[in-house]
């Protein structure tokens, strides 16, 4: 299969939906992005990195960062992590407080905001500075300079972060955070504000397709743990549209409101798409379209 041609074909076929949906507008840095940008990258197990369109343009990875913080904490804590956060689909929007109140502050999974705050809190306890640790990991996997915190975005996130502050204080009221609320929020806003390209993200996530092996050949965690991160991505990675994503694409995936969409092809590689315009669930319209076309053409879904 000529993968480069495949990506190019998909980009061409995806073009008609570019601009459909709505760019995240709660902070200026996201609101000002051209909704018609589009990039698609594929990193394979044998070391190829291919791409098309804006695949080398940095964008705000936002919630895609949650995959990596989860992996870093799981690598240290193992199963003990699940005492602090669940691994079930929530059936609710990513920033909902409803379920959290009914369930006494235990977040349903690490990919809703409340769960991610708990994971970040734990990463702070383990490593001191969660976002520094995260950037360092991303650069180790994707190459020096691949990732950095965009300070202007982080400042905007903090300014507009009342909903996340509400979640963090609610968690604190249930004694679910170890570190001070402001420390956790700052680290969370920093990790969401990391800028990367499709190329970088696809490379950075290869360890999830490769049974836990990192770029330098060392092991982040066991084969079993890699599979488990993938399973959480599949059931919980695309907010309250996880079922639809599994249905259409059939791959473990994680989206961010910056328009990024990461998908794992177990034992094959990693796809990363970017299209800033989002559907009503917060997932990239063009990204989902492109990945749907990819698995339909290749038959490489997990099902």
């Amino acid at each position: 299969m000529d993968l480069q041609s495949l990506l190019t074909d998909i980009a061409r076929e995806t073009a008609p939906v570019l601009g459909e949906g709505k760019v995240a507008d709660y902070i200026p840095a996201l609101a000002s992005v051209d909704p018609r940008r589009f990039g698609l990258a594929l990193a394979t197990m044998d070391g190829q990195v291919l791409g098309t369109g804006d695949w080398q343009t940095p964008f705000s990875i936002q919630s895609i960062s949650k995959v990596f913080t989860l992996a870093l904490v799981l690598a240290r804590d193992g199963e003990a992590l699940w005492d602090r956060v669940g691994r079930e689909p929530s059936g609710n929007p990513f920033n909902s407080l409803v379920q959290l109140e009914y369930e006494k502050g235990l977040p349903r999974n690490p990919f809703i905001n409340a769960g991610a705050l708990v994971v970040t809190d734990r990463l702070i306890s383990l490593r001191g500075n969660a976002s520094t640790e995260l950037v360092s990991f991303l650069n180790a996997e994707a190459g020096a300079g691949a990732a950095h915190v965009d300070e202007a975005v982080a400042a905007s996130e903090a300014e507009k972060g009342h909903r996340n502050a509400a979640l963090a204080h609610f968690l604190a009221s249930h004694n679910r955070l170890v570190n001070p609320v402001d420390t956790v929020l700052q680290a969370y806003f920093d990790q969401c504000s990391i800028a990367m390209t499709c190329e970088g993200l696809a490379q950075a996530a290869l360890f999830l397709a490769n049974h836990g092996l990192r770029a330098d050949g060392t092991r982040l965690f066991s084969r079993s743990e890699a599979k488990r991160v993938n399973s959480v991505m599949l059931t919980c990675g695309t907010y309250d549209a996880a079922g639809d994503f599994a249905y259409r694409v059939g791959l473990p995936g994680k989206s961010g409101v910056g328009g990024g969409l990461l998908a794992i092809l177990p034992e094959r590689g990693v796809l990363c798409a970017w299209g800033p315009a989002l559907d009503s669930h917060g997932n990239s319209v063009a990204g989902v379209e492109a990945l749907d076309r990819f698995t339909t053409k290749t038959g490489w879904s997990v099902f």
Copy 2:
């Protein structure tokens, strides 16, 4: 009717339940109060103030403050206030976020915490310093020195205030607050931390029994508005036990987690009971018992 004997009889009959329930323990200043304290005061329209037990001992008025901030804002804004807060029973605990999320940040009524935060926010806009304004009003009605902010309690409230901080940030995320979250929270913690006696509270609320006329004979608001505050107290004043309180006592009432319980006898006077041990809804066990006995003996319920 010999009202002094009546109060004494009720105190004696209420004695068996003293200590039933549980003192609020989220801050040390409340947790350390003797659960068997009990006071009962009656202020009448003709100027009598009678009491029994610990009726002249100051306690933390907590949510009873919400009656007075509501009155102060209603006196200025009139019906316009109801654009910012509803007046329906919530059917949920006083600090719940669930309904607030479903209803896009519009609080159900001014007596749940979210609604009180909105009222306080408005009082800040009208008067600059909400708690100073409130203390000044209380002292004008009940006599100089009747009310003051207990700074130690206020500091504890702030330290343990994550749930209220969650509510305030959630309101802010829906643009329901005009002033900064921290400013509103500080004013709210201050007003909850006001210390007063049963004697003082009963006098301070006489304007609600007296068609809006203040102690000095001036009018705070119209007869109609006084009735309307009473109606909100009756339907929403005792958290998610408002129906039970109306059933047993049959008076507009407002409780606080400090164990205070205020009840309006329209055109007759005001009762205030204090018993720190609370039932599962956050209402004083002894306070409800005493008021139940009062209306049963006198027939002075509104129904």
Copy 3:
């Protein structure tokens, strides 16, 4: 006060809102009623019955029947009734299943549909045929022929009664009904289908203004129980708009989707208004307007 002139004035002042709102349309018998009909009746403690407009035209009393079934069961069971149904405002629409599921099938109060089904179930156990018993009581109070079950309406209710059937089966799944689901539903549809006039309803409810004394001078229940039915009406009688009704009208009231609205003036009498067009909560627009005007003019609210 010239009460007849008062009623006439109110009817004239209410005229501008006639037709505002929406007639209940789930069954033909209700959908076909002229939305501009309007009646208002007042029955006083001293035996007067006054009225204006369509006050002698029968309409479908619907949920107003719940006041009377509650009274009949409370007269027999007393406080034991409250083991089977609560007395708190629900904060939810009258036919909601949400709260019922969270609270294991115990209805919040006797005026939401679930609670009324439980009361009817109990009346069947006590009396065999709940609707016969109810009609008999209504005729005893309001005069022979004042009330009858409209069989055509009852048949329509049954045909369109899926939501109530869902509630009844849900209650049965929690073992909250003693009698067969179909028996309870039939009795419930029958009681909702009773046709009465404003004149008749006002007379029939006089016992609630009169401390429990019936038309023939016998006592249905104690003074205390009469007050308690009134308190439940005030906090729960107008669906999820009970707070607004208390605020505007300030009387214990009960509405029905046929457009009827009953209100108790303790120790004075009973008002009944009828206007078929409903607001979004299911209460008569013209009825609430007329009662609001009545209490504003007379000052006879309970607050």
Copy 4:
């Protein structure tokens, strides 16, 4: 790999958990089953059918039937089915009415009871008798006599079926059913009451591992549709424990309260376990344990 030895080993290792959990007790036919029974079967793409323990003992397939009714309707209606039922995890128990009320009667997915009722309703419209059609399909795939409706179980289901009746009437109140409530309920109770063995179920589901090809070589539906049924099984097949099942087992699976558990190994085969004692989510304790061990030993998860 010696698959027979593998199954035997797993059965031996699973033995310690036999009896953990609780047998479904809402009907006698399920309550009386020995909680320590255990069977495990594997049907492979190349035609082998292996098993261990009680793999040839019929049990009540209950909700596993939902996989097959979904497949039969999807084969006829294709994507149009999704106008009547969603495909998202619900995050709620299988018989919950809460979400259904908030979402106006549109069930979240075809595997919660409400969604299955809608699918059955559609199968009735397509085929007249849903359970006859289903049994016929199962026998065609698994061999004559493999499946039959256990009439005694069906009668018990109907008798104890108030919760499902509540769901069906609720759906009808939102016009979500085409056929009469009683017809749909009867068909649903019948399909849940089908008795089959692990051996039969594993064979009957082979078309889902085999890209839609049936036992006779004809095609039920496209490769793409087979994958899509699998994706819905993975995200929604084990009630509100779907995330945990994906995490532990990593296969599309569907459980029933009779203790059956079916799992698809795409392009490899089908596993079916049976252990009547259930965890708190309604999934077989021994079944999940056995499948967890199977994928850990073989590495045949989809991730």
